[in-house]
């Protein structure tokens, strides 16, 4: 479009063309060429060819990432072939650090960048999805396979027990308030990355150590994720179209017993119950009719000839070929379907001397692979920077978005996925008066009936979010810049639920909302100077004000609906609203210094006050210092030609965390109503023990690292070793119940994470036709509790899932949330019975019952027999990306995985429990492993729920074809690429009793004070086949 402006013919103007290559004569596609001092630009095609209108005497500027920019004066010729020198200082790449940018080579903290090309080149629907497997030390957990769900991110392990472990997100300089994840693993009030369009992201930087993150001091103890969105590049307007479409299905199923297997198990149990019933004459091998006669003789009332006691008698139809009147059902077939999704994004960007703009719109639609689930997102973004004068610049970012998510209740206990596994696989084939099947409990089966009606319930979540940032920046002096920003994040969220009056339950509805608002104002002064040519100094001073408020409302009705067709809530529904607010004020400063870009120093100091803490100690001070030495800049290194870059780094600093309730320091009153006179007697009372001395939780990180580049930087790498100690934890300290409370919040306790991280990028092969590049990362983390409350070296976390028997603990010297359970090793044999002893609860040993290991040899099984069997944190996480390019084809393969962690699976409690009854369906396991008899011993949490969380996944394979050549004739198209992508096609794990080893949807500890998110039926990952198209045009 803008080309129209330049059509006026100029006498001297001519067309100049040529090829741009690197020093090895390899063509360079995508090189930017501009005519210096004008807005005319072009770029090379896939073969490195360009053509541009210019005139003699003008200068062409060739620039390309990773290469030195070259200028060329146009003379009389029409063909200019250019070869660009590789930039040996490839690390000249600029990275975003807090409140500014810095050359990568000058950084002294542990900082990783994510290559965001990937966000466009494969079908990424969320920013967090694009981070999987990319960065050492960053564990990205896909805790749900449902569309639109947030991921969970842990940087360098988990160091906090009660105060959250999610990092701080900073989007275009705006630190987004996050409330952290809930004890069941989700973001109750939204994730900071919700509704963000990944195609808008220019770069993601992750600050891992205290020195890098310290400028965000408070709230940075779990690391910081800096997200920068795209801006226009100088030159005429560029347009992009990114679109993909695909189909999906569940990546994994759980291997449950089929109907025949279920019958074998049920018969076995029914026989056992019959024999031990105490009914006179009962013995095995009696027919149903024989049993009925004996039963009627012993009991009252009599069963008729078609009546059964299902505990003692089979369904005779099981043994009739073709099982007349019964349907055998695989419920997983019933609930899964083929998912479909589409994404369309268009953007326009460009820049003139006065204005720089990036505008985009995106539409995403995802029909989930589970019936009833879907997700749609409409989002737009406008980033505009305006140069008012040489010294004065203003800008604004606006990003409104609207999403609709439907989830009728799929994940978690007693929801559809759990029910689809545990429902008995046999139902009567009869049809009720409405023509519906499986609406009635099968007499021998579980109480779960057809799940399809559940999937037709309403569970609709809509979110309108608007992220706004504005700034003004003024150069007071040549080197002194004042910048003020004002940021506003507004999220309006509505959740509607409606349960029709169907066969499963009575009519119910709910309507809840939250409005989350975060305002941040920041003012910074930056001063940069170079003293005596060699001393580079950058000084930053700033202040920040952040206010956050959330207002919630909730309405429910159970019994006041007067119409089955109206889904909105009726008059007389009950509800409430609730508001909370917190304010944070901060002052910060930073010094960055280097001597000849050889010796590097960075130091920062931040002081933060938070309204969450007691008046006494609400201010915290967070210092950090880091040093770097670029060894390769030393004269004595110049002769080592294979070593291009070697930098040694060391850092130390303290970060904070205030992720606790907004009013924990107050002695708040709780509502304890009582029924008086047939009405409500309002009651209030102290709801917790206040602690006015609460202050910041601190994490101190020491980090040493090496950055290196070998063989002309064909191999680059980063290695870091760290020790991070969280102290003054905001910990719920157990109290004796006789105090009136069971715990109180206090700053005590210490947790240490130590580990190392290694990232390596290697250009393995590069020639004209074929290029192969590998990026790999691996990290190792060990977690250890160093201290707990006064005189306490252990907190056992009682859980309602195990009859109150604790199976997670916090113990000094051990990893956080160590799982300790009784071991089970097969079934009780006659030899065991002859040896004597009792099992759990003091019960006698019964042949065929599950056998627990008596660790202390006292001939009984008690909680003393629990042993440490693992912990939820993986020891190693890793990822490898291989990129191949052959002529116009490219292939990208991401493999990643983790090992060393354990899952204590609540879903296993539902489908693979020791001593499970006959009615529910059971995981398809060898009876010799679990014991196959209906037993009367008490259940105790044991290793039956324990699985390794290890997995290896080929997350993504993308096969691309560059269409630029094919579309060469269309001059408006700069380049185009068509791709085929396979997400989550290959996945290996040890988690037999679940769909996804990283799933979290339920509180594993069932105790919000000590949150351990766990899986009680989390959705499998989506396995998808996608076709996509990227087009850049002008």
């Amino acid at each position: 479009m803008f080309t129209l402006m330049y059509t006026s013919a100029n006498a001297q103007e001519k067309k100049v063309s040529g090829t741009v290559t690197d020093l090895s004569n390899m063509p360079l596609p995508g090189v930017n060429i501009i005519v210096k001092g004008t807005k005319k630009g072009a770029s090379t095609d896939f073969d490195g060819n360009y053509s541009i209108s210019t005139a003699a005497g003008q200068t062409l500027v060739f620039s390309y990432v990773g290469f030195k920019t070259k200028e060329l004066a146009v003379g009389s010729g029409n063909t200019y072939n250019v070869s660009l020198d590789t930039d040996n200082e490839q690390l000249d790449e600029v990275v975003v650090v807090g409140y500014g940018t810095q050359k990568r080579k000058m950084t002294t903290g542990a900082l990783s960048s994510v290559k965001t090309d990937n966000f466009v080149e494969r079908p990424i629907s969320r920013v967090d999805q694009g981070l999987i497997g990319q960065i050492a030390g960053v564990r990205v957990k896909q805790t749900s396979g449902l569309p639109g769900q947030a991921f969970s991110i842990n940087i360098r392990g988990t160091g906090s027990i009660s105060a959250g472990n999610e990092p701080l997100y900073v989007i275009d300089g705006f630190p987004i308030h996050t409330e952290g994840s809930s004890s069941s693993g989700g973001f109750g009030n939204g994730s900071p990355l919700d509704n963000m369009n990944p195609n808008d992201i220019a770069s993601v930087e992750i600050l891992k150590d205290a020195a890098a993150a310290a400028i965000y001091g408070s709230r940075a103890s779990n690391g910081v994720v800096l997200i920068t969105t795209k801006r226009g590049k100088s030159g005429k307007a560029k347009f992009t179209l990114n679109t993909y479409s695909g189909v999906s299905k569940e990546a994994e199923r759980v291997d449950m017993l089929d109907a025949e297997g279920w019958i074998v198990r049920a018969k076995n149990m029914i026989d056992t119950q019959w024999i031990t019933s105490g009914i006179a004459g009962a013995s095995a091998n009696q027919t149903v009719d024989e049993r009925r006669v004996l039963y009627n003789a012993a009991k009252n009332p009599d069963l008729g000839p078609t009546e059964f006691n299902t505990g003692f008698m089979y369904d005779p139809r099981w043994d009739i070929p073709g099982h007349p009147g019964l349907d055998y059902i695989n419920w997983q077939d019933v609930i899964f379907r083929r998912g479909e999704f589409n994404n369309y994004q268009v953007s326009a960007s460009g820049a003139t001397d006065a204005v720089n703009y990036y505008v985009s719109g995106n539409y995403q639609k995802n029909k989930g692979y589970i019936i009833g689930t879907d997700y749609s997102l409409y989002s737009a973004r406008a980033n505009v920077d305006i140069n008012l004068s040489d010294n004065f610049k203003i800008g604004i970012n606006i990003s409104p978005s609207y999403s609709i998510k439907n989830d009728p209740g799929v994940e978690g206990k007693d929801n559809v996925l759990h029910k689809a596994l545990s429902a008995s696989p046999i139902f009567e084939s009869t049809v009720n008066e409405n023509g519906e099947k499986y609406t009635t409990k099968y007499a021998w089966g579980s109480s779960t009936t057809n799940m399809l009606p559940l999937l037709n319930r309403t569970g609709k979540n809509t979110m309108f979010r608007n992220l706004l940032s504005g700034y003004a920046s003024y150069n007071i002096l040549k080197n002194l810049t004042l910048k003020s920003t004002i940021n506003f994040d507004n999220s309006d969220n509505t959740t509607e639920s409606y349960t029709p009056n169907d066969v499963l339950t009575s009519i119910r509805g709910g309507y809840s909302t939250y409005r989350r608002q975060n305002i941040v104002n920041e003012n910074t002064l930056t001063y940069h100077t170079t003293i005596a040519d060699d001393h580079n100094v950058t000084l930053l001073a700033g202040q920040s004000y952040s206010a956050y408020q959330i207002t919630k409302s909730s309405l429910t009705s159970g019994n006041l609906y007067n119409s089955f067709s109206i889904q909105t809530l009726p008059n007389g529904s009950t509800g409430y609203t609730n508001s909370e607010k917190n304010v944070q004020i901060s002052y910060f400063g930073r010094l960055q210094y280097d001597f000849k870009e050889k010796y590097l120093l960075s130091a920062s100091l931040r002081r933060d006050g938070s309204s969450k803490f007691g008046f006494e100690q609400r201010w915290g001070v967070f210092p950090s210092v880091s040093l770097g030495w670029r060894v390769t800049e030393e004269g004595f290194m110049k002769n080592i030609s294979w070593l291009n870059e070697l930098k040694l780094r060391g850092s130390s600093g303290i970060n904070g965390s205030n992720n606790i309730g907004n009013y924990a320091a107050f002695s708040t009153l709780g509502s304890y109503n009582y029924a008086l006179g047939g009405a409500t007697g309002l009651g209030q009372g102290v709801s917790g023990i206040p602690n006015p001395f609460l202050h910041w939780e601190e994490s101190k990180t020491n980090d040493i690292g090496v950055d290196f580049g070998l063989l002309k930087n064909r191999i680059t790498g980063v290695f870091d070793y760290y020790k991070k100690t969280n102290s003054d934890l905001l910990l719920q300290v157990p109290a004796l119940a006789s105090s009136g409370y069971t715990s109180y919040l206090s700053n005590v306790g210490e947790v240490e994470n130590t580990g190392w991280e290694f990232e390596l990028t290697s250009v393995n092969i590069t020639n004209n036709d074929f290029q192969w590049k590998t990026s790999a990362n691996i990290s190792h983390n060990e977690n250890k509790v160093l201290a707990l409350g006064p005189d306490q070296d252990k907190i056992e976390i009682g859980s309602s899932w195990g009859g109150g028997v604790p199976f997670y603990k916090l113990e000094v010297g051990k990893p956080m949330y160590t799982i300790f359970a009784i071991k089970q090793d097969g079934v009780i044999t006659q030899a065991d019975i002859d040896t004597g002893g009792t099992t759990w609860g003091g019960k006698a040993l019964v042949l065929g019952d599950p056998r627990y290991v008596d660790q202390n040899g006292d001939k009984k099984i008690t909680t003393d027999d629990r042993v440490d069997v693992g912990n939820p944190s993986p020891k190693y996480t890793w990822g490898v990306t291989n990129t191949f390019k052959y002529k116009d084809f490219d292939l990208n393969v991401l493999v990643e995985g983790q090992n060393g962690g354990y899952i204590y699976s609540l879903l296993s409690r539902g489908i693979n429990r020791t001593g499970m009854g006959a009615v529910e369906n059971n995981l398809n396991v060898d009876p010799a492993v679990r014991g196959n008899w209906k037993t009367n011993f008490g259940y105790v949490p044991n290793t039956d729920w324990l699985y390794k969380s290890d997995y290896v996944s080929i997350r993504n394979i993308t096969f691309g074809y560059d269409l630029s050549k094919a579309l060469k004739s269309i001059s408006r198209i700069d380049n185009a690429r068509l791709y085929l992508s396979l997400e989550n096609w290959f996945y290996w794990d040890n988690y037999e009793a679940g769909f996804n080893p990283e799933a979290t949807n339920t509180s594993g500890s069932s105790d919000s004070r000590y949150p351990v998110p766990a899986d009680y039926g989390g959705a499998p990952l989506s396995k998808s086949l996608v076709v996509g198209l990227n087009i850049n045009f002008n």
Binding site: S277, T440, K441, S447, I476, L482, V503, L504, L525, Q543, G558, T574, G575, S579, E580, K581, I585, G609, S610, S611, R618, F666, S667, T668, L669, Y672, N673, Y674, L676, G677, G678, A679, T680, G681, G683, Q684, G685, V686, A735, L736, A737, S738, S739, G740, Y741, T742, Y744, E796, S800, P806, W840, G841, G842, K843, K860, T863, D864, G915, N936, G938
Partner: protein
């Protein structure tokens, strides 16, 4: 010049921000704080209601009623609920030795101490600021209510656990961590002095709007039960029964209730459970619930002994009682098919016509005396049915028990009471020379499903014999473990032993 303006502007901005620091003083927007609490009479009333709420309704929807149905009724020979998959009641009914982590037992311990803390705080604040309540009698009545509730909770604690820490003031976690388990006799001293104060100072009755507050006679009922429990055989354990002979003191308190004229022996068995609120003259000590308020003052105790298909037969779904707790054969055999108490109290046969549980249920008899669909509110935790902790029939039968222990009254009184009870049940008035054993049998028939059975067994002195005989008769599958004197107390919650290691000893007979 221009640049100086900017510098000045920036300095100014900083100054403004400093004044913003006042914004760090945020106070809760949707919750009150204790700073100004207890400054009006209404604050005190709310604090009193909160104390009732925790002592009676417990935390969440699980209260005293649920507790005794699980820990007393299900522990006793009235139920044979031994074989359901890993529910908390299984270990209770099976006499497991590993109960120290049981959720019901935890709840009993924690809720009672939470209520005691509330009562202690209310008493302390009454002493400090009680004068904001203008009428002295109101103030004294409130003090009496707080002391009653404290006694109620301590008595509940010693009945389940025996010795427990004695906390008479609000103390910090650090302070209580030095206080061990106190002898039962010392706890009784506090219970008796609290109840005597309550009996002296509580109003004899309230108007309809105050139905649900404890009266003088409710306190007398509890005091009588305290005396009777103290008088019951000790079994050689550190429990609440002391083997003292205070039957006469109990008799006196019960007789005061009878002679007050405020209570009526209900003419029909059904009306005891169907007449609501202040109109129900059987209510001596009642735990009130109200449905449909939206303020969480409904209950759900009927689901403890209920059964999902029975609720489904009433077109009530999803009550959360999927598993069936079978009533024992010996209880069912005790109640003839024509006994009004069986007709009203037990659903022998019920039919579900639509939904998941379609069918007729004949071999799943279910206790239904408290299940009243007309008082069902917004969901399964919003039933408005009151739970009667002590009813007038109980008072009369306890008097008879005292009489048979020579506490006062005559054999003719005893026979009269038993015959009244039999007559109302539709049985002939043919009891004479009723013995203690017969009286307890009649109590079992009258009060099944109301949570008294386990305590009756203990007071009878024959708890171990009766339970073991019953086990022999009904437990063919050998599900029930050893029942001995240690089974008469529950273990302290494991968490309490872990929190301050070594401070408390565990009750004998339990694994931890």
């Amino acid at each position: 010049m221009k640049k100086y303006i900017y510098i000045i502007a920036n300095i100014f901005a900083i100054l403004v921000l400093v004044s913003c620091e006042n914004e760090l003083n945020q106070i809760p927007l949707s919750q009150g704080t204790t700073e100004n609490f207890y400054s009006t009479q209404n604050d005190f009333i709310q604090a009193r209601n909160a104390t009732y709420s925790i002592a009676f309704h417990g935390t969440g929807t699980y209260g005293y009623a649920n507790r005794i149905l699980n820990l007393s009724e299900t522990r006793s020979d009235n139920f044979y609920a031994t074989t359901q998959a890993s529910r908390d009641w299984e270990g209770i009914n099976n006499f497991f030795t590993s109960l120290s982590t049981n959720g019901y037992i935890n709840e009993a311990y924690i809720s009672n101490y939470n209520a005691i803390y509330k009562a202690n705080q209310l008493l302390e604040q009454l002493a400090l600021k009680g004068t904001v309540i203008p009428i002295v009698a109101d103030r004294t009545n409130m003090e009496a209510e707080a002391r009653f509730l404290r006694a109620f909770c301590y008595f509940d604690l010693i009945r389940w656990f025996g010795r427990v820490p004695l906390i008479e003031n609000t103390l910090s976690p650090q302070e209580v961590s030095t206080i061990g388990r106190s002898p039962v006799s010392e706890i009784y001293d506090l219970i008796l002095s609290d109840l005597q104060f309550a009996v002296t100072n509580l109003a004899p009755s309230y108007d309809a709007a105050n139905f649900g507050r404890v009266t003088k006679y409710g306190a007398k009922g509890l005091l009588a039960m305290v005396y009777m429990t103290r008088s019951s055989p000790n079994y050689g354990i550190d429990g609440s029964t002391l083997g003292l002979n205070e039957w006469d003191k109990a008799y006196q308190q019960l007789n005061d209730i009878k002679t007050s004229g405020l209570y009526v022996f209900s003419p029909t068995y059904a009306s005891i459970f169907t007449v609501e609120g202040i109109a129900n003259k059987e209510n001596v000590l009642v735990i009130p619930y109200t449905q449909n308020t939206g303020n969480s003052v409904g209950g759900n105790f009927m689901i403890e002994l209920g059964y999902e298909p029975y609720f489904a037969s009433l077109s009530l779904s999803q009550q959360g009682s999927l598993e069936y707790r079978p009533m024992s054969e010996s209880l069912l055999n005790l109640l003839s098919a024509t006994d009004n108490r069986r007709i009203f109290g037990i659903a022998d046969t019920y039919t579900v016509t639509s939904g998941t549980y379609i069918g007729t249920y004949t071999d799943r008899p279910t206790v239904k005396k408290y299940i009243d669909k007309t008082r069902y509110g917004n969901g399964r935790e919003d039933w408005g049915v009151d739970f009667i902790a002590m009813r007038y029939t109980d008072v009369l039968m306890l008097m008879a028990e005292c009489t048979l222990h020579s506490g006062g009254g005559t054999q003719a009184d005893v026979d009269g009471i038993v015959n009244d009870v039999r007559e109302r049940a539709g049985l002939p008035r043919d009891a004479s020379n009723v013995t203690l054993d017969q009286l307890f049998e009649q109590r079992r028939a009258e009060f099944f499903g109301e949570g008294t059975r386990w305590f009756d067994l203990i007071r009878s002195g024959n708890a171990l014999t009766i339970m073991n005989n019953w086990k022999t008769a009904e437990d063919a599958s050998n599900s029930i473990g050893t029942i001995d004197k240690n089974s008469l107390l529950y273990p302290l919650p494991l968490q309490e032993l872990l929190t301050v290691p070594g401070l408390y000893d565990q009750n004998p007979g339990y694994d931890n």
